[in-house]
C-alpha cells in the first residue's frame, strides 16, 4: 500500500536521506530503528509530506503523492501521525482535540464527531477524561489522546515518531498497549522507536537505518538475533 522509490531529502547542503526504497503492505507493522540523526524522523515525515522529498517517489494506494499536482491536505488526512511530544492542542478539551479535525476537515456534524470521539476515547481507555484539558493529563494519557485524535480521521496508515520517548517509564506500557491493539486490528503502521521489546513483539518487519539509508531489514528475529551487518550489530549491542 505504501511504495517508496529512491527517496532523497536534503536540508541545504545536508543530505539526510540518501535513497530509500521500500514497499509496505496493508496491515503491515514496520518498526524503524537506528542511531540519532540517521534520518528516521525525516523518513517518516516525508510519508505524510510534512517534509517535501527532494527527489524520489512515494505512492500510497497507487496514488503518487509526490506528484506536484496532488492535494497535500488530502494525503495528510489519510496518514495519521503521532509525535514524540504529543502536540495536543492545549486550548481544547480532550474530546475537542479528537473531534476537531473530523468537524473542520471531514465536515462531520459536531454531534456525530463527538460521538465518534467518545468511542475512540473509550478505546484508548480515557472516556472519563473527555472534558478535561490536556494540562490535566499525564504523559501517557496525552499520548493516548493523540493516538485517538489521529484515528478520528480514519487514516489508512499511522505514523509514530518515538511515541514513548518522552514518557516516564511507568507510562510506556499503556501507550504501547494501545498501539499493540491497533496493530492487531489490522492498521498499517510505521513506528520509529527505541522500544526494542515492542519491535520484537509487534513488528512484522524491522528496518535499521543509518546515515540516511536502510542498512538492513527483516523480521524481528532476523534483525535482533541474526543481524548481518556489523553496523546493525554494533547499534543493537549498545541499545539492547
Amino acid at each position: 500500500m505504501i511504495e517508496i522509490k529512491d527517496l532523497h531529502k536534503q536540508f541545504g547542503e545536508l543530505q539526510v536521506l540518501k535513497g530509500i526504497s521500500i514497499d509496505i503492505k496493508e496491515s503491515e507493522v514496520v518498526c524503524v530503528i537506528g542511531p540519532s540523526g540517521s534520518g528516521k524522523s525525516t523518513f517518516l515525515r516525508c510519508i505524510n509530506l510534512l517534509e517535501m522529498p527532494s527527489s524520489g517517489e512515494i505512492f500510497i494506494d497507487d496514488e503518487k503523492i509526490t506528484d506536484r499536482k496532488i492535494n497535500i491536505n488530502k494525503i495528510r488526512e489519510e496518514a495519521g501521525m503521532v509525535f514524540q511530544h504529543f502536540n495536543l492542542f492545549p486550548h481544547k478539551t480532550t474530546i475537542q482535540n479528537v473531534a476537531l479535525a473530523p468537524i473542520k476537515v471531514r465536515k462531520l456534524s459536531k454531534a456525530e464527531a463527538e460521538k465518534r470521539a467518545h468511542d475512540l476515547l473509550k478505546k484508548v481507555g480515557l472516556e472519563d477524561k473527555a472534558n478535561v484539558y490536556p494540562s490535566a493529563l499525564s504523559g501517557g494519557q496525552k499520548q493516548r489522546v493523540a493516538i485517538a485524535r489521529a484515528l478520528a480521521m480514519h487514516p489508512k496508515l499511522m505514523l509514530f515518531d518515538e511515541p514513548t520517548s518522552a514518557l516516564d517509564p511507568e507510562m510506556v506500557g499503556e501507550v504501547l498497549g494501545v498501539m499493540k491493539d491497533l496493530a492487531q486490528a489490522g492498521m498499517t503502521m510505521v513506528v520509529v522507536t527505541h522500544e526494542m521489546g515492542f519491535a520484537r513483539e509487534v513488528a512484522d518487519r524491522v528496518l535499521f537505518m543509518d546515515d540516511g539509508l536502510i542498512v538492513e531489514q527483516g523480521t524481528p528475529h532476523d534483525i535482533f538475533s541474526n543481524a548481518k551487518h556489523e553496523r546493525t550489530r554494533s547499534f543493537l549491542s549498545k541499545v539492547l
Binding site: 501521525m81 509525535f83 492542542f89 492545549p90 486550548h91 479535525a101 476537515v105 484539558y133 494540562s135 485524535r149
Partner: protein, 230 residues
C-alpha cells in the same frame, strides 16, 4: 491654606469637563485599539507570510510607523494630507478631528500590535502547526483554529501595555483640537490660568484610567488563563 482651597475649587470646577474629556479619550483609544488589532493581525501575519510582497508591505508599514513620531503622523494626516488633496484637486478637505484621531491612532497602534502578534505566533511551538497539518487542516484553518487562539492568550499582557501606551499617547491629539482629556483641561486653563491644579487633575485622571485598564487586563488574563497551562 487659601491657595490650597483655590486649587481645590478649580479642580472641582474642572472635573465635569475632565470626565467628558476622559470619555472622548476612552472612545478614541478603544476604537483605535480595535482597528489596530485588525490591522496588527493582518500585518503581523503578513510579516510571517511566505508571499514576499505581503512580507515587504507589512515591513514597510511597520517600520515606517514605528520609526516616526506619533506627533508627526498626526500632523501629517490632519494637515498634510488635506493640504495635498486641495493642491491636487483644488478643493478644500476637512476631516473631523476625532475621526482623524481614531484613524491615525489605529494605524499607529496597528504597527506595534503587528509585532506583538508576530511574536505571539512565533512563540507557539512548531509541533502545534505540524499536528494540525498532519490532521489534514490547511494552513489558514490551522492558523485560525490552533495557532491564533493560543497566540491570543499570550498576547493579552503586551496588548494591555499597548492599550495603556495608546491611551497616554492619545493626549497628543490635543494639538489638532480633539477635545480629549488633556485638551479639556487646557481649555479650562486658558480661561482661568489655573495651570498647576488642572494639570495635576489631568495627570491623576490618566493615572486612574491606566490603573483601570491594567485591572481589566489582569482580569481577562485570569479568565482566559485557566485552560491553557501545558
Amino acid at each position: 491654606m487659601s491657595l490650597l482651597s483655590t486649587y481645590l475649587e478649580h479642580i472641582i470646577k474642572v472635573l465635569p469637563d475632565l470626565i467628558v474629556g476622559s470619555m472622548i479619550t476612552i472612545e478614541i483609544t478603544s476604537f483605535s485599539l480595535f482597528f489596530g488589532m485588525i490591522l496588527g493581525t493582518i500585518s503581523g501575519l503578513g510579516k510571517l507570510s511566505r508571499k514576499r510582497i505581503l512580507r515587504y508591505l507589512s515591513i514597510v508599514y511597520i517600520d515606517f510607523i514605528r520609526g516616526t513620531p506619533l506627533l508627526v503622523q498626526i500632523l501629517l494626516f490632519y494637515y498634510g494630507l488635506p493640504g495635498l488633496y486641495s493642491n491636487v484637486t483644488g478643493n478644500p478637505l476637512s476631516i473631523d478631528p476625532i475621526i482623524a484621531g481614531i484613524i491615525v491612532c489605529s494605524i499607529n497602534s496597528g504597527a506595534y500590535i503587528a509585532e506583538i502578534v508576530r511574536a505571539g505566533i512565533q512563540s507557539i511551538d512548531r509541533g502545534q502547526m505540524e499536528a494540525a497539518r498532519s490532521l489534514g487542516m490547511n494552513e489558514s484553518m490551522a492558523m485560525r483554529e490552533i495557532i491564533l487562539p493560543q497566540a491570543f492568550r499570550r498576547i493579552i499582557p503586551p496588548l494591555g501595555n499597548e492599550f495603556i501606551a495608546l491611551l497616554k499617547d492619545s493626549s497628543l491629539l490635543a494639538v489638532i483640537g480633539v477635545h480629549e482629556l488633556l485638551k479639556t483641561g487646557q481649555l479650562y486653563i486658558s480661561r482661568t490660568f489655573a495651570a498647576f491644579p488642572v494639570y495635576i487633575a489631568v495627570a491623576l485622571m490618566y493615572l486612574i484610567l491606566t490603573i483601570l485598564i491594567s485591572r481589566l487586563v489582569a482580569y481577562s488574563e485570569r479568565r482566559l488563563g485557566v485552560s491553557d497551562r501545558n
